[in-house]
């Protein structure tokens, strides 16, 4: 059990899915992004995913690429992500980090886990690191008591689904679509199928990410998943001008969505 599973279970006990909000640290600048993290928590995110921007984000669509590039131009450092984790923890949500592998490797798998733990973080989502590619990361995370959250996709085979769900703690991150991050008109039946596949492989908690943009979609997904992950729509709401009120309105809409489902 962990802070993450406790929070997901508490949401479930309320008869709803958790709302998981993603923002890259440093967009549009570090100070505004920290304020934005606080807004996510105040407006109803149960879990906040902090993204340290990376120079080569192969799993991200144009909006998050833009935000990452802008943040890097502004001089954001990986250290800033740990500061953001502390902000989220203080504000009362459960912080996790979503990081590309090289940023973790350069800090050192163990140090990355230890720094996250010290900042009050609960786990790490790894978009380009699968459990079989990273036994050293899994060992380091277990040592520190940090959750390892891996992704599954519609293309994931039954064998890999088992491997990935076995190695995931906290929750399993299901991507309902083949493609990069970004809003979609519909996440379709595939989402339900991926969630079912993960549950069949023994996953107790499954959250859905990639493609969710509206409160209505959040409500739909909350009908069968333990959490709804929203990133691009929040980044767009925040925007280059750092509009915290527009962000607050978007999070409020999504928070109502996850509560409207059951």
């Amino acid at each position: 059990m962990s802070a993450l599973t406790d929070r997901l279970d508490a949401c479930k006990a309320e008869g709803r899915a958790a709302l998981v909000g993603y923002l890259p640290v440093g967009y549009p600048d570090v100070a505004t992004s920290l304020a934005a993290m606080r807004v996510l928590v105040e407006a109803g995110c149960d879990i906040v995913e902090v993204g340290p921007p990376y120079s080569d984000p192969v799993l991200d669509g144009p909006m998050i690429q833009h935000a990452a590039a802008r943040a890097l131009e502004g001089g954001v450092k990986v250290d800033d992500a740990f500061a953001a984790v502390s902000v989220v923890a203080e504000a009362g949500a459960v912080p996790v980090v979503m990081s590309y592998a090289n940023l973790m490797l350069q800090r050192g798998w163990s140090r990355f886990a230890a720094d996250l733990k010290a900042a009050g973080g609960a786990g790490v989502i790894t978009p380009d690191l699968t459990p079989d590619a990273a036994p050293a990361w899994v060992d380091a995370a277990r040592e520190e008591g940090v959750d390892t959250i891996f992704l599954v996709a519609p293309s994931t085979t039954r064998e890999r689904m088992q491997l990935t769900c076995d190695a995931s703690t906290g929750f399993v991150y299901a991507t309902p679509l083949m493609g990069v991050t970004g809003e979609r008109a519909s996440v379709g039946d595939a989402a339900e199928r991926v969630v079912k596949g993960a549950r069949d492989a023994g996953a107790e908690r499954v959250c859905i990410g990639v493609g969710v943009a509206t409160g209505a979609q959040a409500a739909e997904i909350a009908g069968y998943a333990d959490g709804v992950i929203v990133g691009t729509a929040l980044v767009r709401a925040l925007g280059d001008e750092g509009d915290l009120e527009r962000l607050r309105a978007k999070v409020t809409e999504l928070a109502e969505g996850v509560r409207a489902a059951r």
Binding site: V58, N102, R107, T130, L151, V152, S155, T175
Partner: protein
């Protein structure tokens, strides 16, 4: 034979290589690995690839001795392995025909590829035309500007060329964009990767398809009197170099030298000499050396040569460097262009600017070893695509005269 370094299977070369990609691509990479493992021992596949090499590419490529150029190389004997004479003008076709045939075996109808200088894009567009596949090429916007002729060639061949305007607008961003396309379209699409880098199986598979260079060259050298003292090739991602080295890996007396692009000089920070100026990291799906800052953000590379302008390098090269089997030398823009000029003026052979980096290495090594040394260098491509850029470098364009 135990202890052979040849044809290392991956996924790891020492501690380098592996597969660091989104889960969404894992099934496709497994499928590709499986198809390749079957194809490489299937006489129908290998026979068809050999036929295409012979009848389409024009293999075996010849070896040319270049005495007038060698006169500037300390009197060493210099021989060129002429990959520039291949159909489409570079070594890239060797790999592309193999991967395009595999695409057909996978039952997929669309290929995507990244390209830097445009050579791999042209080769992929060519193979797609030959085999009736839809083809999309990603190319950094900066590269589409400095290699506009190759953009036109690809479009003439029926490929869609998508300029990539993100990041540094070069090869690295083209690879990012190709990966994004692949994640979204993996059911219909095969990614024809152009260099011996990326996630497994690409480094080993691309090396196998390029290995023909050294297999032929080794036999040609033996027929000419003996193995060379050194084999040299340019290294960006490193596909022509690994193909030039592989059959010589177990010949302990043959030095293997990869020439990296040092741009304005490694000490200036404006370079693409990854093994000289980088350190271990993960980029584009594998563990290797990369140019990066303290946090692990990839740093922009710089080279006059679009094909070498890449902040990573194939993992097998990193391994060969780490065990001391191969050496990697930095070669600046200025050194490469001097070698370009020299080969053109002394032998009437216009090399690709990429290949000119290896020629600069030959000049340096020849002067070090002197008469009696025999040096084999892979001329990975021809310089037709570089005429405008070279003319500008040497101030030979009409506007240079007007302003002079």
């Amino acid at each position: 034979m135990t202890g052979s370094l040849q044809e290392a299977p991956g996924p790891y070369f020492g501690e380098f290589g592996g597969r660091f990609v989104p889960e969404a691509l894992m099934a496709a990479l497994d499928e590709l690995t499986d198809a390749y493992d079957k194809a490489r021992i299937d006489p129908e596949f290998t026979g068809e690839l050999e036929r295409l090499a012979r009848e389409y590419t024009g293999r075996p490529s010849i070896v040319t001795e270049v005495p007038r150029f060698a006169a500037h190389c300390g009197g060493a004997r210099v021989l060129l392995k002429r990959e520039d004479l291949n159909h489409t003008g570079s070594h890239k076709i060797n790999n592309v025909l193999g991967q395009a045939l595999l695409t057909k075996r996978l039952g997929k109808s669309r290929v995507i590829a990244e390209t830097g200088a445009g050579q791999h894009g042209v080769a992929t567009a060519t193979a797609a035309a030959l085999m009736g596949l839809d083809c999309v090429i990603y190319m950094g916007e900066e590269d589409t500007e400095r290699q506009s002729l190759n953009v036109a060639r690809m479009r003439l061949l029926g490929a869609e060329v998508i300029p990539v305007a993100t990041g540094t607008r070069t090869l690295r961003d083209a690879i990012n964009e190709a990966f994004r396309d692949w994640v979204a379209n993996v059911e219909t699409t095969n990614y024809v990767f152009g260099t011996a880098a990326g996630p497994h199986p690409f480094p080993a598979m691309v090396r196998d398809f390029q290995r023909v260079i050294s297999v032929e060259a080794r036999a040609q050298m033996l027929a000419l009197g003996g193995l060379p003292d050194a084999v040299l090739a340019c290294v960006g991602g490193g596909s022509n170099a690994i193909g030039s080295f592989d059959a010589f890996l177990d010949d302990a007396d043959v030095r293997l030298i990869g020439c990296e692009a040092a741009g304005d000089g490694v000490e200036t920070g404006r370079h693409a000499a990854t093994l000289t100026g980088g350190r271990p990291g993960i980029l584009h799906g594998s563990m290797s050396y990369i140019l990066q800052d303290e946090d692990g953000q990839t740093q922009p590379s710089h080279s006059i040569s679009a094909g070498l302008d890449y902040p990573g390098v194939g993992p097998e090269h990193t391994w060969l460097s780490s065990i001391g089997r191969a050496e990697y030398w930095p070669v600046t823009d200025a050194e490469a262009m001097e070698a370009f000029r020299l080969l053109t003026r002394t032998e009437g052979i216009l090399p690709a600017i990429e290949s000119a980096h290896a020629l600069a290495g030959v000049i340096r090594l020849g002067r070090e070893l002197g008469p009696g040394a025999t040096l084999l260098v892979t001329l990975s491509g021809r310089g037709d695509k570089d005429v405008e850029q070279a003319a500008r470098w040497f101030e030979m364009l009409p506007e240079d005269e007007e302003t002079a």
